[in-house]
């Protein structure tokens, strides 16, 4: 939805109104904008978000009321209220997103046993339901744990849940992080607006110049796995890594940029993930808001839950403290990654992808002593540039291998292609003709390559501080040319409009 003329016009009108109306009603305008945006996608969507928001709002307010008034067994009451709200919002999410997945698997079992089939249901899946549900749950649990105060104004809470820039693909913001800037009065600040617009342009550059252009080749490669084997699997991995990064980070740049123009500060969701030297670091840099959400609301609660504590104590008695600690981590990690996979989509390949990540993280954890020994034996390697590059490439390769599940959308095909990548590597050759047959022209490849180089340069520059801050310190003419240059690059080299099927942001399906 961000890549449409209507959206750009909507945003311009919103900004004009936002900074001309009385400051005290800015948040109301923002709330109205959220619902216009959401209803424009589908008039039925707002119903879902209102129900979710209402359930969480009333639960939070009631929990706080119980605490303040010390009614009965506060802890127990709070828990019942929290679980009830959790049941409602997760119930909605599961119903609309996972019912057909459950039916499909149930039908498979029925088929195996010779029974009939259950018909699929035709639920609409509200845009961004996973994101706003998780954002709501984080608030609910934060209020439950006393980490934040309940918002008494339902409409203000609704604004937090439905803030339109992050509805499409996150980030999953915490109430304490954004509530202040969401509700406070904002004066027109040209620096803030220009920063925001720059960020939006940068996002569009990544999305429409790189991601949407290379997406054509990714589709060609993934749609014909029998034809594109061997070296093409690896090519597909590289292309998809570029597409996903440019698409997702581009979308987040647009989100953060829009929020910034409105004076709302959102946290960064990516910190140069492809520079990570190991998988754990990668997941601390990639989709940070999701990673921290699962850490705070699944990993820790799971690890400290009564059931896991019982298992831990069982293992401690039989196998010792070290084994007990490991079991706790294993259970929590696998639970987190299973949930992460399912959250990404109601398909087995997402489950496989999630489990794959969990297993690799656990193997890395188990191998940590070996790595430490290795580094002790070769202390100079730690600062060696080539070794660093090797670590970065290794991490990228591992993550890309796991993304094969997503690329091919099938566990079976992904595994087959993974094997073919090694067994049939030499059977196919990369030629100019073959590359052109992927749907991209020579010019497209040049644009993609140039875009990736620019993206890489900006990432490298960003290691020593904000690139926009650096640009802002340059003379006006430089700043102006950067701005105008970026605009024209998007305008001319963007894969948008008639002739291009502008793909939706990859992450808005989650």
């Amino acid at each position: 939805m961000f890549v449409s003329y209507q959206f750009i016009i909507f945003l311009i009108i919103l900004l004009i109104l936002y900074y001309t109306i009385p400051k005290k009603v800015q948040w109301i305008l923002l709330l109205a904008a959220n619902f216009i945006f959401y209803a424009y996608a589908d008039i039925r969507y707002p119903v879902f978000i209102i129900v979710t928001a209402a359930a969480i709002y009333f639960a939070a307010v009631t929990m706080e009321y119980c605490v303040n008034k010390k009614i009965g067994n506060v802890k127990k009451r709070k828990k019942i209220i929290m679980l009830t709200a959790l049941f409602i919002v997760l119930g909605i999410l599961v119903c609309v997103k996972y019912t057909n997945f459950i039916i499909r698997n149930f039908n498979f079992l029925l088929n195996e046993t010779g029974h009939g089939k259950i018909s699929f249901v035709n639920f609409i899946i509200p845009l961004g339901i996973s994101f706003y549900t998780f954002q709501g749950i984080s608030y609910l649990l934060d209020v439950y744990w006393g980490k934040c105060k309940a918002q008494r104004n339902f409409f203000k809470f609704l604004l937090f849940i439905s803030f339109f820039p992050q509805l499409i693909q996150g980030p999953i913001s915490r109430y304490n992080d954004i509530s202040k800037s969401l509700y406070e009065k904002h004066v027109f600040n040209i620096r803030q607006i220009s920063y925001g617009v720059e960020r939006i342009l940068w996002g569009y550059f990544k999305k429409v110049v790189i991601a949407d252009r290379i997406g054509t080749a990714v589709v060609a490669l993934s749609e014909s796995p029998d034809y594109y084997t061997g070296v093409y699997v690896m090519l597909g991995m590289v292309f998809y890594a570029i597409q996903l990064y440019a698409d997702f980070t581009g979308g987040i740049d647009i989100t953060i940029g829009i929020a910034q123009t409105l004076g709302v500060h959102l946290k960064e969701n990516f910190i140069r993930p492809y520079f990570s030297k190991n998988t754990a670091e990668y997941w601390r840099r990639w989709h940070i808001s999701m990673g921290t959400w699962f850490r705070d609301y699944v990993f820790y609660p799971c690890g400290t839950s009564r059931a896991v504590r019982k298992i831990k104590s069982f293992f401690k008695k039989r196998f010792g403290a070290n084994a007990a600690r490991r079991v706790t981590v294993y259970i929590a990690t696998i639970t987190v990654w299973l949930a992460t996979g399912i959250w990404h989509g109601a398909e087995w390949h997402f489950v496989a992808w999630g489990l794959g990540n969990g297993i690799i993280l656990l193997i890395s954890e188990e191998c940590a002593p070996l790595y430490r020994k290795f580094h002790k034996r070769f202390p100079k390697l730690a600062g060696n540039a080539l070794y660093n590059v090797f670590q970065i490439l290794r991490t990228c390769f591992l993550m890309s291998c796991l993304r094969l599940f997503d690329t091919y959308g099938s566990v079976r095909v992904a595994i087959k292609q993974f094997i073919h990548m090694f067994t049939q590597f030499g059977s196919s050759t990369l030629s100019g003709k073959e590359l052109i047959e992927l749907g991209l022209s020579f010019g497209d490849y040049i644009v993609i390559l140039s875009g990736v180089i620019i993206m890489l340069a900006v990432s490298i520059l960003g290691r020593t501080g904000s690139v926009r801050e650096k640009i802002s310190k340059k003379p006006y003419i430089i700043r102006y040319l950067v701005f105008v240059g970026l605009f024209f690059m998007v305008l001319l080299f963007g894969a948008y409009g008639q002739g291009y099927d502008v793909s939706q942001f990859i992450y808005n399906q989650f």
Partner: protein
């Protein structure tokens, strides 16, 4: 104070530079229609005219490839201009006339009726070729709104760079060569071709159909080729994919089943007629002697009825082939779909006589203003003939036009 002035100047210069760069880049990426599809330049060329015209011809390729305004000048001293485009729809013709009336009021308007059979926009490419070259006005806006196909956006017409931006990767030397000034491609809107592709040698035409009417092209080349009154027309090009009938979403039936013009087309036919009446312009309806695309008897009857009802002159050139002396072996460059210069001049001779004798369209030869302008036009015309002839001599065919 100085600081504020400096800020204002910086802001103004920045905006001006941004706009100038946008316009310059837009100019770079829009198609130049030089080597391919010269039709794309037709609409814009009209605005280069310096003298008025007594006759305006509007319609699709059946006017701009079959009638030769330079011949009309040479033979009758008639000043005329064709505002036609590839598959120009009737509402586009209406808006072309409305647009023309801002600059001049012709004495007669010749409208080719083929477009009546199309009830909805056909292809974006045709829309763009017809409308991009129009000067901006409410008329252009209305024309765009009436013409947009599914998926087209008004903003893409307002800012063509949004539509053509991807051409940045396909630029060729014509984009540089005709960056500042587009290539002149037509002769008062006439698309001239001097080469010949006889019907009998056409690799797309099945000439055996002629014998279905009891005659062959060998024994009677002046036979009325089309309107067999009691029969459904069996169109030999019905299966041929041409720019006219390549319409997957709105295919025309192969057999005449009494097709009716749509209300939408007839609404614009009425508007066109009324506009002519209001401006005291004589409206003449024509049907070109092209052998394709299909033109049913049912269409013919509706045009006859309409012209009779409103007292309009309707000339179907098919019905006058014996007078016009069209020879489909020598007068067409694409196997009968369109006339070459020889055929167009025959049609023009026939039409010119009617315009001069029945409509009193005057002879402007000898008037210095026109003589000077048409001397230049004829030079361009003759140069084009010579250039095409040279290409035929050299390559055996016309390749640059």
């Amino acid at each position: 104070m100085v600081h504020t002035v400096k800020k204002i100047i910086t802001a103004v210069v920045s905006v001006v530079f941004f706009l100038a760069a946008s316009i310059a880049l837009q100019r770079l990426v829009v198609p130049k229609y030089a080597a391919d599809l010269p039709e794309g330049n037709f609409t814009a060329e009209y605005y280069d005219e310096t003298t008025e015209h007594d006759v305006l011809m509007i319609g699709d390729c059946e006017v701009y490839e079959n009638i030769d305004p330079i011949y009309l000048w040479q033979r009758y001293g008639i000043t005329s201009y064709i505002r036609g485009n590839a598959q120009q729809l009737i509402w586009q013709s209406y808006y072309m006339l409305e647009d023309t009336l801002k600059y001049e009021t012709p004495k007669a308007v010749v409208f080719n009726v083929q477009a009546l059979k199309y009830s909805e926009p056909q292809r974006e490419e045709y829309n763009r070729m017809a409308l991009d070259g129009m000067k901006w006005s409410k008329i252009k806006l209305d024309a765009i709104r009436a013409s947009m196909c599914k998926g087209e956006k008004l903003i893409d017409y307002i800012f063509p760079i949004l539509r053509y931006h991807s051409r940045i990767l396909e630029l060729n030397k014509d984009d540089i060569r005709y960056y500042a000034k587009r290539k002149k491609v037509a002769n008062n809107g006439y698309y001239m071709r001097i080469d010949v592709l006889p019907v009998s040698e056409s690799d797309v035409a099945d000439t055996s159909w002629l014998s279905a009417y009891g005659e062959t092209e060998e024994n009677d080349e002046n036979q009325n080729l089309s309107f067999a009154p009691e029969e459904d027309i069996i169109d030999p090009w019905a299966e041929i994919v041409t720019e006219e009938d390549d319409e997957p979403e709105n295919p025309l039936p192969k057999v005449d089943k009494g097709e009716k013009f749509s209300d939408f087309s007839m609404e614009y036919m009425d508007k066109l007629r009324i506009l002519c009446e209001e401006n005291n312009i004589k409206l003449i309806l024509i049907k070109a002697p092209s052998l394709a695309p299909v033109w049913y008897d049912s269409y013919e009857r509706q045009v006859d009825e309409y012209s009779e009802k409103y007292g309009l002159r309707y000339i179907n050139f098919y019905e006058h082939l014996d007078e016009i002396l069209i020879d489909y072996e020598t007068d067409t460059y694409d196997g009968g779909l369109h006339m070459n210069r020889s055929g167009a001049d025959k049609v023009s001779e026939y039409l010119g006589k009617i315009l001069a004798t029945e409509y009193g369209i005057g002879d402007h030869r000898g008037e210095p203003v026109y003589d000077n302008v048409y001397e230049e036009k004829q030079k361009f015309y003759n140069d084009m003939i010579q250039a095409q002839q040279e290409e035929i001599n050299k390559y055996g065919k016309v390749i640059s036009y």
